[in-house]
Amino acid sequence: MRGIRLNLLLVLMGASLQVQAEQLTVAVASNFTAPMREIAGAFEGETDHRVRLVFGSSGKFYAQIRHGAPFEAFFSADRAKPEALEQAGLAVPGSRFTYAAGGLALWSGDGNLVRGGPGALERGDFNKLALANPRLAPYGAAAVQVLRKLGLEEGTRPHWVQGENIAQAYQFVASGNADLGFVALSQVSEGGHIDSGSAWEVPEDLHDPIRQDAVLLKRGVDSAAARALLRFVRSERAAAIIESYGYR
């Protein structure tokens, strides 16, 4: 009798855990928009939780989180901001992890300009070289490292135009205002191929890894759904989605 009662209790508890669906609000760096939508969709399919995604610049999210923004988790475009939040006591210690590593591409809208190498940069036959602001964006900092390794930093500097983020660097090239630029591989590759213009996939050894970290925020410390989402992002299913968007 006692055993049955205990079993019943456990079943009921399990059931109540099952129906405890939560609504999450998650801040996500805008460069990760497309994969995150797909990941959240898959996560919602596997659980009863609902995820509300907010996309924007990591710097602004950082400022907003410091001032009480209602996010349970934060997917930053870099490693520094989740770390700073943890130090400020606004994120759950030990919850930080790298969810994606970005690849860099030198890309031109012109199908002949970038022929799978940095030749166009060496020859200097371009008007402007677009890159993300190296002081703000990890992709920009990586682009400068590549130029430095190639010994082209000073030579190309007068031609730099800086986007506030990697999306803007892409925009400068896509609109033809800059002949070429360093963009995220995820922006120009589809299913492993460059989808327009010409590009050089920059080898990984020319720059530090562009790691993007996620962190559980203080607000989500008691949320089973937030923890489940962060776990799901590390699953094989999510990894396949992330890779399909050109992240490494």
């Binding site: 710097g59 602004k60 800086q162 400068f172 033809g176």
Partner: protein
């Protein structure tokens, strides 16, 4: 802490941009304002609406279209290339062109209002005294509508100083060329250097308040003086 060297570069650039734009806008805006004030054409409505559009359009829309228009395939880009000027995006003069659109209503509307308030009478009187059109404009319209011109210049200047979204879209953040104060502040905030941001942002706040206060005091004095003369 105070301002750093790059801050001063940005401040100087911003003042240079705003002054250039203000002078050009007074030259371009005055005939437009005149036409809008005097014309009975059926195009008056559409032209007035076009001029006022930057008041309601988000800078991101204006910046986005300007980026496309100034690019090699866009109408402005093709014109500047044909004139041998190359592509103007990411240059000081590109910002000037963008700001001309952006600040146009702030210059045209005060001048237009002043000319409308002037009415036909003074011009008719001047005409009977055989003053030619140019003579009438410079000896009657300009002095009588002077408060309108001064308001226009102040607003055009201040609005250009406060420009951000459009410049962010077409500027490319080049020191001394397109990195104006508002962009510099944005960079500081994004870099989490809030102290440096405070210095520049505080200066902007004081500047805008001082300019607007000056404008209101000027208008108040004018209206009091105006009543005095009228009586």
């Amino acid at each position: 802490m105070g301002f750093s060297d790059t801050d001063w570069t940005a401040i100087w650039l911003t003042l240079r941009l705003a002054s250039t734009v203000t002078v050009l806008l007074l030259l371009i805006g005055t005939p437009i304002a005149w036409w809008l004030a005097k014309s009975r054409s059926r195009w008056k409505g559409p032209v007035g609406a076009l001029v006022a559009m930057p008041l309601v359009l988000p800078p991101s829309v204006l910046g986005f279209y300007l980026l496309l228009a100034m690019g090699p395939g866009g109408p402005i880009g093709q014109l500047t290339q044909a004139l041998g000027l190359g592509i103007l995006s990411f240059t000081f003069w590109g910002l000037v062109i963008a700001s001309l659109f952006y600040s146009l209503p702030f210059v045209v509307q005060p001048i237009q209002n002043a000319i409308e308030a002037l009415g036909e009478r003074p011009l008719e009187v001047a005409a009977t005294l055989r003053a030619g059109p140019w003579d009438r404009f410079f000896t009657v319209v300009v002095p009588q509508a002077r408060p309108g011109f001064i308001s226009a210049a102040i607003l055009g200047f201040a609005h250009t100083v406060g420009e951000f979204g459009v410049i962010l879209m077409i500027g490319g953040n080049i020191p001394g060329e397109t990195r104006v104060v508002s962009v510099q502040i944005y960079d500081y905030v994004e870099m989490l250097e809030y102290d440096r941001a405070h210095w520049l942002a505080g200066a902007m706040l004081l500047f805008s308040f001082a300019v607007l206060l000056g404008l209101y005091l000027f208008r108040q004095r004018r209206s009091r003086a105006g009543i005095g003369v009228g009586a």
